[in-house]
């Protein structure tokens, strides 16, 4: 079981730069959201996610995060525990790009650095070309409205924000060619206005995403008393 993040000197440096950013008036409004993204329950749900992927012994190199928010916890966990080589985070909130790049600065890559290049080739030569263990890219993109085919292929599609959006079956219809593994989380906590699509079971979450080959299905009570559901499958 994965029960911690490796707090390296590099992470310390990057996370400190997030705090520095908040001194700027332009980013004052992000303080509460960063605090929320750094909560115990956020970490619990990401540790759970990575633990189950480790248990399933899934070989993962390229991951796309749907509505991945600041990807502050999930990025180091995917890299350190699973050896992921490329993480693409797609989120519709314009602030996410700036802040998640701060959190993950050590892996940051911009679109123009990889434009028109074979991602598989880049991954095979990561150390030689970029001298990093992984590349992290973030784009502002509403995944329910536009397909993600222009970003390439992925082994794993992670959406830990299913309660915030339309059922995932729509995403699958928009991206029919994606024959990869889905990792989905949602909750039954209906007290928040932006939880527009809560579920009451992992089965309901799987149904919403047309998952037919379930590799893992479970639920967890988090520290904030929210019950979180997770499904891994195709």
């Amino acid at each position: 079981m994965v029960d911690h993040i490796k707090f390296t000197t590099e992470i310390a440096e990057d996370w400190k730069s997030v705090l520095s950013l908040l001194h700027h008036d332009e980013y004052n409004h992000c303080i509460k959201r960063i605090r929320d993204a750094s909560s115990t329950s956020q970490l619990q749900s990401k540790l759970w996610l990575v633990s189950e992927i480790v248990n399933l012994n899934i070989d993962v190199e390229k991951v796309v995060l749907l509505a991945g928010w600041y990807a502050n916890f999930i990025t180091p966990l995917l890299i350190d525990e699973l050896g992921v080589k490329y993480i693409l985070n797609l989120d519709s909130d314009p602030d996410v790009k700036t802040i998640s790049y701060k959190f993950n600065k050590r892996y940051k890559i911009d679109h123009d650095q990889i434009e028109n290049q074979d991602m598989n080739h880049i991954i095979r030569n990561l150390r030689e070309v970029f001298d990093v263990a992984c590349l992290y890219r973030c784009e502002i993109h509403n995944v329910m409205f536009e397909p993600i085919k222009n970003y390439g292929d992925f082994d794993l599609i992670i959406n830990t924000s299913c309660e915030h959006m339309f059922p995932m079956s729509r995403f699958r219809k928009l991206n029919r060619s994606k024959n990869c593994i889905y990792v989905l989380q949602s909750s039954n906590d209906r007290q928040y206005d932006d939880h527009i699509n809560c579920v009451d079971s992992a089965d309901e979450l799987a149904d919403q995403a047309d998952i037919v080959d379930t590799m893992y299905s479970g639920e967890m009570k988090l520290s904030n008393n929210m019950t979180r559901y997770m499904v891994i499958g195709k």
Binding site: R33, D93, N142, F145, F166, D193, I196
Partner: protein
């Protein structure tokens, strides 16, 4: 160029007197020629236009969202060149909600540059809260109580709503919130498809004028063009509005 003032009435929230009063206000406060039209679910007069129902089946009232999706029909009706149902080509449109008080000459709105459509930018909103709550679909900076456009200019909005109706109605809590996410950019306010009326044009009776310096509620600002009475909490005191007619 024909100038049109549009309003919309459906259901029982407002009775016919609101439409008549708005028409009266427009006639008393517009110094250039215009035609007044009302999109309504009970068309009876020659200036009434029946509201279509094509989007009804996609809207789930049980979700509890207050979604003025019927306003989207205005962006399609008679907007295609050659479709002269009610409006000739190259018309200009000013839409007004029924619960507004007009203070100044509406000619101003028809003389605005028409490179982009105009909508109410709620300057009473704290822009920091707008950004903080953007992903939560709250603190919407726009208000669709007044919109200005020229023929066909809002057609992309109609096409988008028509194409993604189920997704849009499911995701966004209101039309204004949808506008703010897809047709406006709170981070770069000059870059959106929609542009906000400048400060000093339109204020809110229940929310104020400009954050943080002029936020007194329930205060008439006669130097402004229009006062809005709508309130997302649906706690409008129609008596207050009527007392100011």
């Amino acid at each position: 160029m024909m100038n049109n003032i549009l309003c919309m009435k459906w259901g029982d929230k407002y009775d016919d007197s609101y439409v008549e009063k708005l028409k009266e206000q427009c006639e008393a406060n517009c110094s250039i020629p215009f035609k007044f039209w009302c999109f309504t679910d009970k068309p009876e007069k020659d200036w009434h236009i029946p509201i279509p129902t094509t989007l009804d089946k996609f809207f789930d009232e049980e979700r509890g969202f207050f979604w003025a999706y019927r306003k989207c029909y205005m962006f399609n009706h008679g907007q295609i060149p050659g479709d002269n149902s009610h409006f000739p080509d190259n018309s200009k449109f000013l839409f007004l909600d029924l619960d507004v008080i007009i203070h100044q000459d509406l000619k101003y709105f028809f003389e605005l540059p028409n490179d982009k459509p105009w909508i109410v930018r709620g300057w009473w909103n704290d822009i920091h809260m707008v950004k903080q709550n953007y992903a939560k679909h709250k603190s919407t900076p726009l208000n669709s109580s007044a919109i200005v456009w020229k023929s066909g200019q809002m057609m992309p909005v109609w096409e988008h709503v028509k194409k993604h109706n189920e997704l849009i109605f499911f995701t966004y809590a209101s039309l204004d919130n949808y506008f703010a996410h897809h047709w406006y950019d709170p981070w770069n306010e000059d870059d959106g498809f929609l542009q906000g009326f400048p400060q000093g044009d339109i204020y809110s009776w229940y929310k104020g004028n400009v954050f943080p310096d002029d936020m007194e509620l329930k205060k008439l600002r006669l130097g402004h063009k229009i006062c809005l009475f709508n309130n997302s909490k649906e706690s409008n005191d129609v008596g207050e509005l009527k007392s100011l007619w």
